[in-house]
């Protein structure tokens, strides 16, 4: 099983070969990255690294890049984001999935951004990246903001808020209806409360990291987020269901 990733393209002729080629290239990039980073494929570089079969220096260079980004994310979030998650036996092992998803979608987005005349949205399991070619005007129908509904974690028949996005990312982390699935690295426990945090900003990788960190990290994460705005401005967040 996988996470559904959909790509939506708005333009004059969405069935043109150029569009299909760009979409195929974006998916190809995602599939290629999954082959390297999947923690569920025993033959992936990350799986072999975790098992100790190969050292980091024998992995795809992107693995080192991601490991470095994970370290940056842990530092920026004051330890409330981690890429060392418990495995099936409870032992904490390198698992960069929480960062790789957004990072990979950002890379796929750069491929779509070169598509003339097109605006697009990538939906990766409820986390979204929106963009457009630089010549698509915001006043036209194709360039109009995508209206992103944020699910109400306490009542999924409702939309908690609507965020219009012209360009950028929206990530939501939470535990609505599914029970605990977010790990708090400081307490070493899984967080289980009916709430969610949504983060909007330029890159999906950081939006997703902050959504997770703010959800599990409480006041420490909020302080870290405020500090991070100096280095990476233009991110904002909302909590749903915390009242």
């Amino acid at each position: 099983m996988g996470m559904p990733v959909s790509i939506h393209v708005r333009c004059a002729d969405p069935r043109s070969p150029d569009v299909e080629k760009a979409v195929a290239a974006a998916y190809h990039e995602l599939a290629r990255l999954e082959e390297v980073f999947s923690t569920w494929r025993p033959e992936s570089h990350v799986s072999r690294l975790v098992r100790g079969d190969i050292p980091l220096s024998h992995c795809d260079p992107l693995v080192g890049e991601v490991a470095e980004l994970c370290a940056q994310a842990t530092e920026a979030t004051a330890g409330t984001f981690t890429a060392h998650l418990p495995d099936a036996t409870g032992q904490r092992v390198f698992n960069p999935t929480g960062l790789v998803k957004g990072w990979a979608v950002d890379r796929a987005g750069r491929i779509l951004a070169g598509l003339p005349g097109a605006a697009w949205c990538i939906n990766a399991g409820g986390d979204l990246l929106v963009g457009r070619h630089r010549y698509v005007r915001p006043e036209g129908e194709d360039g109009a903001p995508w209206r992103i509904g944020i699910e109400d974690p306490t009542d999924r028949s409702r939309i908690a808020r609507v965020v219009p996005i012209l360009e950028g990312a929206v990530a939501t982390s939470g535990t609505a209806a599914r029970g605990a699935h977010l790990f708090d690295p400081r307490s070493g426990t899984w967080v289980d409360r009916l709430a969610s945090v949504t983060v909007a900003g330029p890159e999906l990788m950081w939006a997703d990291i902050w959504a997770t960190a703010l959800f599990v990290g409480g006041a420490d994460a909020v302080r870290a987020f405020d500090r991070s705005l100096e280095a990476r401005p233009d991110y904002s967040w909302w909590g749903q269901g915390f009242d």
Binding site: P4, S157, I159, R178
Partner: protein, 173 residues
């Protein structure tokens, strides 16, 4: 939803499943929104679920804003377009497949139901039997909600929306 309606004809939507979370027991399902061709179901609109995983509860599908009666989504009040049924692509989640079916009457979604939901264990069934009717109702209610996408925390509801989107695409709504 209105925006989806307007843009459906000029929007290419492609859906694949990536980032596997599970091991050898599962394979990647290539769902690209073209699983099933539209099937005319007539005014009955109740194509029988074909999958053993279906835990749909048609009795709990209420459509207060619609003239249609609960048991007959495309009611006699919709003579022009009739009730056409569109089956969305089966979307895999880490818990199992989700597949949505919509019935369209007079260019509007008269009802939405689920053909497949994950039922790997009892907890899943419990969660889904509650969540799915709520989602079904949300689809019918949201027709004027003016939303392109939903950002949410739950895998199943995301898959629901993905499958719904592919059904909408087929319906050219």
């Amino acid at each position: 939803m209105r925006r989806i309606v307007i843009w459906a004809l000029s929007t290419l939507t492609v859906l694949v499943l990536l980032f596997s979370y599970r091991t050898s027991t599962s394979s990647i399902v290539g769902a690209s929104g073209q699983v099933a061709a539209p099937t005319k179901a007539g005014s009955g609109g109740q194509a029988a679920p074909k999958t053993p995983a279906a835990t749909t509860a048609p009795g709990s599908l209420r459509t207060p804003a619609q003239p249609a009666a609960p048991a007959a989504p495309a009611a006699p009040t919709a003579p022009a377009a009739g009730g056409s049924t569109f089956v969305g692509a089966a979307v895999g989640t880490r818990y199992g497949n989700v597949q949505v079916q919509i019935t369209v009457a007079n260019g509007r979604i008269a009802s939405a139901s689920v053909l497949q939901v994950p039922n790997r264990d009892r907890k899943d069934v419990m969660i889904n039997s509650r969540a799915v009717p709520i989602l079904n109702q949300a689809v019918v209610d949201a027709q004027g909600a003016n939303i392109d996408m939903v950002s949410g925390a739950t895998v199943t509801s995301v898959a629901y929306i993905q499958s719904l989107q592919s059904a909408l695409d087929q319906a050219h709504l």
